[in-house]
Symmetry: C2
């Protein structure tokens, strides 16, 4: 039996999950030589929210980070999370933009593209898979795990087979909410191992306290690779810690061999970074979220929910709104609860309870009902679809959403030229997703980011948000032995 | 396949692990009818540190708590943790005291006595097992899990067989440090299931993040019962949460059926208690302890270690002292690292590094070397034993330590009478273990405990310890370039 291999996700999902994606490239560098020497299957260094957050908050041009990390970790394969036709943003982009992004990333050294679609609609993944293969890199097809009557083991296995046929070099089970139970991941992995030849990778989060047991079961079922991170950017809302997974696999014939002394060094480096990012971290993220467990929804969804209910003065309706969630999911074709669908479903459930079912039909929910996000796992309820059509005045579509879009690169190139910003492919693809943020990068002074950067803005306790919330503070101050009553307010 | 059953440990180990054993009986009562209606295999309600802490800090006479909880939870079996010949204290007691304690507890309604010995010396458990059987109750023999070259799977299984032969009605694997890896618990449970007929119970802690995966493996191997708790007195340094374990067993043919709505109610009740005990809780206890994982020692031992090293001004010697731990363990016969042996080993390792090996031989370590704690898992090094004999002037023993003691009850009865305190068996056995504390109970005013009681001493945030540490602060401030000495105090 071959040992299971570990990916290490600390440089992307680790700080995305535990420090609001705020780790600047510069702080990552001391860890790079060690990370690169460990023999990990891959280092997840890019993609997901890290491109948006790096550009928006840290003022980093995304391809610069990739270049720097590739140079600092030249031996290990680099991996990125890729949202299919959404690339690393939130809407569908034309095929030529997706292709250009893939080509640029490949050119800058990206090795493995983990591609998923929030609706598990493989049509939204095809263009990216093709482009990655054409660039000679590895397309990893990801299956988003979600629980619903239509999401059976067979269906997930079938999707994996389909992705393998589409040319994926590996298949990932992506459990973004950390809700996959061990027995179910065991069955999916077993099913995939029986039916496909490419490696099977499992990705989960410890949010609900099921990460490690599910990895254990996945390894027993023959998973080839699992995603781990480095504490304190691990466990809780992040991936299980590497040292912890080694301990969990103690005495297991599939236990891999990673240097624990180096892991200790890495832990010290990341603890130091964690302390520097103090402002963006929260010990609560490291504690098992019992609510997520009990309500069986992604952790983030519940807290959003509570905030929204409070804004709407509907706190007393929590149970009612919560009971409406599966109804909305069912009517909208059992869409998974992942960003952005979790927010769309949550908001619609709230509107249904407040105003009556579908009286307030949000534009996003209508778009889902009409096919503008792609093919839902089950058919949308015909009545609901009809209502969406009437209310929105839009026609339902069955085609791949991106098919409605013409090529986009030429226009992007012109727009950048008009603004006097460099208009190579790298800038075009970033501009497509984050136009304002890219413009800011070239027009705002560095102070604009310095203020946003945790490096320069890590406050002493309490963090400014809290201090601001508290407002001016009254203090008793003794100056040179003379007592004064003083009001202090942070400027 | 029979479903696995759950014990619920929230009323004993839950708050012992996560709130310094400070939950008063009164606060437990609202949860009792629900806990009692769930169909748990047993409720752990007594024993371990809860008897000492309840008496010492809350001013509760231990048998009163048992009476109250038995009355509040009449349907479910009650379970207690019992330290063999140490009863619920830290030294060896005469057999008649052990027997009297068992008889009193049985009379007050205790059903299952989980009996262990810190050295896994079954001779230290025999008297208690016999007494429990004689009282017509269930003796559960516990195997302390520890890692050492002599502690093999076979040895643990053999100990389980021996305990079953001694008359135990069930066998528990007690992983007090939360360090048992899934594959090892799988093998021990499998071995026990093959060789003994009585139920096999597994007890662990989530401290190092291995609790849930190890339970999962134990269930796969056929464990009959596992210990769970209720969040927030669960996970972290405590047992995995009940709702979480149900989620982990989702789709597993051995998943038991416990009412999740009632679990939600329990969670709300215990969250409320947790908030009231705020002063004694620490979010850090709920976060996975990566140090415990990396150093493979009980979580509590490391923090004690650091405090002691600091006191001795030996912080720079951490690695050296730490490397000395396995040496000391080996020479002392590979004793497990459990209270009190973890402290004894840690202190001796520190002394060895500071003064040279065995130059300062602590009395406790000498007693272990000479057999006064019982039979060590492996023989004590002859040179070390000889040295202990010379330095202490004491003879080594091979007999069961309690055999050196004459009967104790008569003397206890007289001593209590002389003090004018009730001298029934209940008072005698408590007086044997906690003489000063029992005396305090009858002589100190209630304010003595009110001051200690979390109920009356729960401060607003921040807790007093922290506030005191902050105190008035002296600062050097430069105002308009002029330096001033300033004292600041929060009002």
């Amino acid at each position: 039996m071959k040992p299971v291999a570990f990916n290490n996700n600390v440089l992307r999902d680790g700080h995305q999950s535990l420090a609001a994606t705020r780790m600047p490239t510069e702080l990552m560098l001391p860890a790079c030589p060690i990370l690169d020497s460990m023999g990990f299957n891959a280092l997840e260094t890019w993609g997901g929210a890290s491109i948006d957050a790096g550009l928006r908050f840290l003022g980093e041009f995304p391809f610069d980070r990739l270049d720097t990390l590739k140079k600092a970790c030249p031996k290990t394969k680099h991996m990125m999370l890729f949202r299919g036709q959404n690339i690393v943003a939130y809407t569908h982009f034309p095929d030529d933009v997706v292709e250009a992004f893939v080509n640029c990333s490949a050119r800058h050294g990206m090795d493995i593209f983990r591609i998923f679609d929030a609706l598990n609609d493989t049509r939204n993944m095809e263009c990216a898979i093709r482009a990655v293969n054409k660039a000679g890199k590895e397309a990893q097809g990801a299956i988003c795990y979600t629980k619903s009557p239509v999401d059976t083991i067979e269906r997930f296995v079938k999707m994996g087979c389909e992705l393998a046929e589409l040319g994926c070099g590996s298949i990932a089970i992506k459990d973004m909410a950390g809700l996959i139970p061990p027995h179910i991941v065991y069955d999916i992995v077993s099913g995939l191992k029986k039916n496909i030849k490419v490696p099977v990778v499992v990705h989960t989060h410890e949010t609900a306290g099921m990460g490690a047991p599910s990895y254990y079961a996945a390894v027993e079922a023959g998973a080839d690779v699992i995603d781990t991170s480095i504490a304190p950017f691990a466990n809780g809302t992040g991936q299980p810690d590497t040292a912890r997974m080694l301990a969990v696999l103690e005495d297991n014939p599939r236990k891999p061999d990673y240097d624990t002394k180096k892991l200790l060094q890495l832990r010290e480096i990341f603890q130091d970074i964690y302390n520097k990012l103090g402002f963006y971290t929260d010990l609560k993220n490291e504690v098992i979220d019992t609510d997520a467990l009990i309500y069986q929804v992604p952790g983030g969804m519940l807290s959003n929910f509570r905030v929204q209910l409070k804004e709407q003065k509907m706190e007393d309706k929590f149970d009612e709104v919560f009971a409406e969630v599966p109804y909305v999911r069912e009517k909208l074709g059992w869409i998974p609860l992942v960003t952005p669908t979790s927010q769309i479903v949550g908001t619609q459930a709230m509107m249904n309870v407040k105003f009556g079912r579908w009286k307030m039909f949000t534009p996003q929910a209508m778009d889902i009902a009409l096919g503008y996000y792609g093919r839902t796992p089950a058919p949308v309820d015909p009545e609901v679809k009809k209502l969406a059509q009437e209310k929105s005045g839009k026609e339902p579509i069955t085609a791949r959403p991106a098919d409605l879009k013409g090529p986009g690169m030429e226009e992007l190139r012109k727009a950048l030229a008009a603004k006097g910003i460099k208009n190579d492919d790298e800038h075009c693809v970033i501009y497509a997703m984050f136009p304002q943020q890219l413009e800011d990068l070239y027009t705002k002074p560095r102070e604009f980011y310095k203020l946003k950067s945790p490096k320069d803005k890590i406050p002493a306790c309490p963090p400014p948000a809290e201090a601001a919330a508290k407002g001016p503070q009254k203090l008793k101050i003794s100056i040179d032995g003379q007592e004064r009553s003083v009001t202090v307010e942070k400027l």
